[in-house]
Amino acid sequence: MATAKLMDFDKALELFEPVLGFEVHVELNTKTKMFSDAPNYFGGEPNTNITPVDLGLPGSLPVVNGEAVRYSISLGLALGCSIAPSSRFARKNYFYPDLAKNYQISQYDEPIAFGGSVEVELPDGRFFTVPIERAHMEEDAGKLTHVGGATGRIQGAEYSLVDYNRAGVPLVEIVTDIIYGAEKDAPELAKAYVATIRDIVVSLGISDARMERGNLRCDANISLRPRTAPGEPPAPLGTRTETKNVNSLRSVERAIRYEIQRQAQILADGGTITQETRHWHEDTGTTSAGRPKSDADDYRYFPEPDLLPVVPSAELIDELRAALPEAPAIRRRRLKQEWGFTDLEFQDVQNAGLLVEVTDTVAAGASPQAARKWWSGEISRIANARNAEPSSLVSPTDVAALVTLIDSGALNDRLARQVLEGVIDGEGSPQEVVDARGLAVVSDDGALIAAIDDALAAQPDVLAKIKDGKVQAAGAVIGAVMKAMKGQADAARVRELVLERASAD
């Protein structure tokens, strides 16, 4: 693959205005699928959670999951949308084996929610209003695995294997209006927008929202238009590309930045942008051309004859509106106060997309400062090194358990880092790793005292100094004891005991 030439980001912004648009797919966490009573669960043994409806078998008929409709209305309301008095489903027709019916049931001209907006907080604390065009209900598709070919990708594959467990999983697709005015903040806005959507669906409790599992997926549209002199009318919108497969917050930001630089260079060189989907490659941080927009995009939507209109009552909408949790922006202000974080501490957590993790870790019993320290510190460091999202490495429950072990004195920080690695590497819960690796701090005073007495005997000069009241000299003994205990001791306790033993003699 040829490497695309990239224009310097600041230079690109001087010449062009980035224009954005996002489509975010949210998988709802209902118990059953959108149109069948198969369990809403995938990732296990292939083709086990399917019914005749999910396979599109002749004679099977879809029936709408009422809970999914309620979830969708709640999401629409949280996005500041109007809820359609009447909406209906439509068939989106295409031939691809990820759905066996040869169509996807979606919504087309009558989405359930439309015309909203979302307040998105930028890293510097400013708010940006992202306009929402619509949110509509649809079903997810099955999972294809391409076999053969060099890289397991579509190109060169000999055949494909299909697992329909995900087919029919309820989705809400959130479509923004065209977003102007993001300017140099476009990459950060993209990330903050997706993070906000994630916060909203998590606070509503309607999705697991794990990007690495595909519960939340973002397609990022971007085009550039040349800047015009003041007073002149703006240039027409440029040709856009749609980058798919962006499955982490960090990738959303990087993909937008990359596309701005790539498109700017092509335009500056006198070239034209091809309207196409592009694939994001996490490993190289680049995008590559996918399918050009063509006849294949003629989906021949028509109203789904097997399903009836969705006509939510005013009472239902009022009930769901009253039950909405506080908006994430307001919640953030409250949390910052409750946690007692400084502006900097709070922004670090937020910009790293770790609000949910810290919240859940605090809820699981850790102190806010300890939760912050572990998520923005060691866990983020490991995530960076492994090119992964922190949330994909370890659960808030495990982090809270780790903090509890530290607070109880069973672990010191150094041991805790080893335990954390064990948890991340799938060795079990923190306690299980402690047991399996034998990492607990030696809390048996007898063993410590023996080591201390040995160390004091080996360093009589130090002992003399301590006796003279020069307690800072104890450091050398503490160091020797910690070394003898292979670090598995609580340094504060060792210090106490050293002073005790030294003065006892």
Binding site: K31, T32, N47, T48, E67, P97, E158, L308
Partner: protein, 99 residues
Amino acid sequence: MSEITQEQVAHLANLARIALTPHEIESLTSELGSIVDNVAKVSEVATPDVPATSHPIPLQNVYRDDVPGATLTTEQALAGAPDHDGSRFRVTAILGEEQ
């Protein structure tokens, strides 16, 4: 007369993965045209106070409770498949992209 053209019929046939001969395209163009003309007659009698409808039956909000039911076994699911590999359906390599 309707505005159905041979190009439209060929395009639709392609989207629907139906191979048509030139003769079939010609006759279908004329038949589809007649159908569209006949359907258009409905517009002549529809007054502005008649809302468009996609369902003749006055039913709405027919929902299912969110309770899991029986699923197919993998064997049942794969029973009608032309080909499979282990517990997954096997299909020919697709030269397109995921939607």
